[in-house]
Structures are given as C-alpha cells and as structure tokens.
Point group: C2
Chain length 342, copies 2
Amino acid sequence: MRCRMLFQACATLLILLVTTGAGPADPLPSWSDGPAKQAIVAFVDRVTLPISRDFVAKPERIATFDNDGTLWTEQPLYNEMTFSVERVHELAPRHPEWRTEEPFSSILAGDLQAAVASDRNIIQDVFAATHSGMSVGAFASTVDTWLAKTRHPRFNRPYTELVYQPMLELLHYLRSRGFKTYIVSGGSTDFMRPWVERVYGIPPEQVIGSRLKLAFDLTGERPELQLQPALEFNDDGPSKPISIQQTIGRRPLAAFGNSDGDLQMLQWTTAGSGARFGLIVHHTDAEREWAYDRNSWIGHLAQALDEAPAHGWTVVDMKKDWRVIFPWQLRKGTSDGRQHQL
Amino acid sequence: MRCRMLFQACATLLILLVTTGAGPADPLPSWSDGPAKQAIVAFVDRVTLPISRDFVAKPERIATFDNDGTLWTEQPLYNEMTFSVERVHELAPRHPEWRTEEPFSSILAGDLQAAVASDRNIIQDVFAATHSGMSVGAFASTVDTWLAKTRHPRFNRPYTELVYQPMLELLHYLRSRGFKTYIVSGGSTDFMRPWVERVYGIPPEQVIGSRLKLAFDLTGERPELQLQPALEFNDDGPSKPISIQQTIGRRPLAAFGNSDGDLQMLQWTTAGSGARFGLIVHHTDAEREWAYDRNSWIGHLAQALDEAPAHGWTVVDMKKDWRVIFPWQLRKGTSDGRQHQL
C-alpha cells in the first residue's frame, strides 16, 4: 500500500515537471499565425535547439530591444518628452531665462511645433535641463510619481499600460529560451530604470540608454551621484551598436526596433556570423494605435524599411500581425469593441 | 523488494542533493583563519541567509572588484602598460613623430621614468595611441596573441597566471551565494574582456573599465566598430561609482580594491543602507609578491588606507591573510620553497 502511494506521488511529480517545463501552449498567443510569428519561432528554434546546426550557447543569446515605439507607444509624443515638457513648466519659475530662450520659450507658450523647429537637438537639450539638478535616487522618485499620476491623452491609462502585449510575450518567450533581453533606447536610462523591471521584466543592468553626465558629490552627509545638466551620450542611430559593444561586449543574436534610429543596431546585429534576426515593428494600425512611418517626426521610419528586404529583416504589420495591442485588451473587448479569444 | 530499491534510490538522491548543495568544505581554503576571512564569511551569511535581518534578494547582490592589484599582480608595471609599451615599439615605424613627442620618445628610448615624468596622463595617452586604429575584434586578437607569448619578468609565467588564488576563491564563493561579480577597473574594457571570462569567470557584460571612443564604420563589406585614438572614459577614482551607476544601476553590496583609485567606489558602496562590505588588499609581502602603498606610483594607497577604520573596511594583510598567492602554488611548493597544505 505504501509502495503504491509512493508510485502515485512519483507519477504526479513527473506530470507536473513535464507540463510546466515544456507544455504545448502557444508562447505568442497575441501574434497572428502569419509570417512574422513563424519567422520568430523558426529563428528561436534554430539557435536554441541542441540538434540545430546553428545552435548558440546560452551566454551568447543576447537580444536587444528599442523601447519607444517598439515596446510601448511613442505617440502623440515620446512619453519621456511629455514628462520633460511638464517638467519645463514646473521648473520655469527657477529659470527666468527660459522666457526668451528656445526651445523653452515655445514650450512654455504651449507651441511644441515651434519648439521642435527652433532646436535641432531639442530632445537632448530638454532632457539635460529637466533631468538634472538632483541625485539619481531623487530623479527616480520624480519619474515614479509622474507615472503614477499621469494618464495617456488618448487611452486615458497610465503610460506603463501602453506597452505592447505581443512584445511582452516575445520578451518572455525569448527569456524562456535562454535569451538575455536588453533595452537599447534613445530614451534616458534614468527615466526607464524605475519601471522597466516591473513592466518588462528587464533589470536595471540590462537597460542601456542615453545618459546625462554624473558627478560624484561628497559635500553632504553621504556621498551622492548628482545628475548634471548635460547629455553625455545620445543612444540613437550609430550610437546603438557602440553602446551595445561598450556595455555588453557581445554582438546580439537578435535586435528589435521600429525606426531609423534602430537602423545601425539592426545592421550590426544581423551582420554577425551564424543565425541572426532583425525585426521592425511597422505602425500600420491607426484604428487601434497609430499608423506612421516616412513622414513622421516621431519614430521616423524610411531607410530601415527600405533596407529590410535585402537584409532579411522581419517587418511586423501591426494591423495584421498583432491580435491585440495592449495588455488590458486581453481582459475585455478591444478599444473598437471586438472580442479576442486567445 | 521493488519498494526497498525505490527507497534506497530516494535516500541516495537526498544525500547527493544535501552534500552537493551545502557541504561543510571551506570555500576559502587559501585564506588564513584570521579577521579578514571571518569578516567576509560573516558578511555573506548576513546578506544571504533567509533568517537574517539583513537578508538581500538575489538580484541586488552585486559585488564589484578592481582588477590591477586586486585580482592580479600590477607590479613592476601595470600589465596593460607593459603591453602598451611593447605596442609603442611595434607601431613606432608608422609614427615618425614619436621620436620627438613625449611620452613616446622616452618610451622608445627605454626610459619609462622619464616618460612618466613627462606626461601626467601617460596611461590615457598611451592607451589611446596603442589600442586604436583597428576594429574591436582585431584588438581582442592582438591581446590574445600577446598574452599567449609574453611572460612576467619576475615569475616567468603568463600574466593570466599572475592572478591571486584567494581572490579566485572569493569570486567563486560570492557567486555560489548568489552574487553577480563585476570588474570595475581603470584598465580598458577591450584589454580585459578577451581573457577575464576564462580566468575569473566574469562574462564580458560584467566588465566595466576605461573606454576608447568607438566609431561605427560602414565603409567595408560588413559594418565594423573601430577603436579611435582617444580615451572617452577613464574609469578611476570618482569615475568608478559613476560607471557603476551608469552600467549596473544598482549600488553594490560589496566592493574590493587595493588603491586610492578605489576610494570612491568603496565610499559609495558602503554608504548604502543595510549591510555593506568594503575590502582593501594591502600588498605587504615583498617575499612572495610585493610590498607597497603610500610611496608607490603603481597602486598608490594612502587615503583609502587611512579612511578604512572609520568606514569599517576590511584591510587584507597579504602576508598574514593569504596562505598562497598564485594558483600554481597550490600544485607545488611556493616560490620560497614552503609547502602549503590546504
């Protein structure tokens, strides 16, 4: 009798191990069964199945993701710019010179188009002015507070809910297959780190972004790292492969982006030997999100789209390839009322 | 009968699990049973035992190590400077201007003291001149080739064998207790990455060091990252906590150094809340390695040594605290003929 109980326990354990370890469940349920999803799954099998000729050892399985427009919405304005514009208004009383200095005077006048026209480096200049003058810890709290109280103008939800459900599934799927997932973004590291671990499961040491100068400050009771009003590194375009090399020191196996700012990251990644993977999220869905590419200042996409076929990069057609856009649409009908069965 | 066999199998498995998981073997056999070893073990228990009030979750267990003089010998000259001096001789035919330009003219004349006296930033200038003009991959091969053929002038062994056995044990011990071990060094990332994974078990993405400017180059058949003749970041002194914040984004729980170049990393680390640990390797053993501190240009140690008691930093007396210095001494008598029983 005792023996039979032991066998039953063993059998239960075996079933548990097998079903939790390698169940037949679809790891990408929010992706339509089209060529994009097929390309992803084929690539992952190719580099992770031990019988594959292109098998890659775990430590070399690096995947890099752009953030704005690739993992979360970047319209109608990069979310970090929305944060920065609000900070300009908040900080204006301490900066009387901004009343006449561009791009700040146009921002304060509420004319963002004029502000953009006034300053080729508006993002860098506005980040430098609004992310500095405090310690890294104090800035992280500022970001947390802002995210908790602010809602997206179109969707009326916190920005951290404006992340793409299919990309969350992709991040999880890659990690479940031994990949280390990194963010490589033009956004600032200090703006992303407070929330990306909670939202994407990406820890601070895997977040690479634009950087403000830091100063080590021993004047107070305890040493502090103070953010200085100068952008030291703008992690966009050719700076992306550079920051990948400097921080990771390995060429990624796979890179994911949505704009020409990701072009060189895609080029560098897919020029590596063996199996490599490049993917562009093409915003084609004005109904559920936005449709934009060549003529957009936000997330401008032209050259990378033109080069995609020659390089074999997968182009995601958001409208066709994604069954849902945002996580809350899994729990109820989508914004247009359709129900999704996943 | 079948039942008894099953029980025996279970018991064997249990014993295996218990003995491999938490055996009673000393994890630091090359450390004498003195206060330094006791402080290390007490700290590790304090932050990793779940019953401890100061328990820290695994992702926050970050330990940062200086390299030169902390993990490997830095005498009679920083090994990367020895490499660089040889490169100056090799590259001289292509640089006729070096015949009259300091510090190169003194280096070519074989007068290193004059070279050091001629240039306050000699390390940066010599790294910039000798680590550039090629791709990151080509430079890694240059380092590999040099390490394979070169022997240390005193010990007549490859530089990669001039690593400290007690520190190898410490790295391994910390990792076995859930720590992520990083190098944070004034040495250049590109000089360290080719060998530190093999020698220390530290992967490229956990190597933070000084950096040369990189350029993304699309002129050839494939994109390349080319090392430029300019030091972009000198990871010494106050730059160490800055590079830790920029790259890791978490304050370390423990930091290990040997010179005043590690002072701010120790200050930043041990100023954190909860249990923190700072350690200085004090070179006190002229017989087995070297004895130097306040009066040495290499590994200058004065302020950090003076501040150690007030901060509670552990100071390792190499002569007393380390039973062996180098790994090969485990396999035979030490350089002075003594045998070590570990």
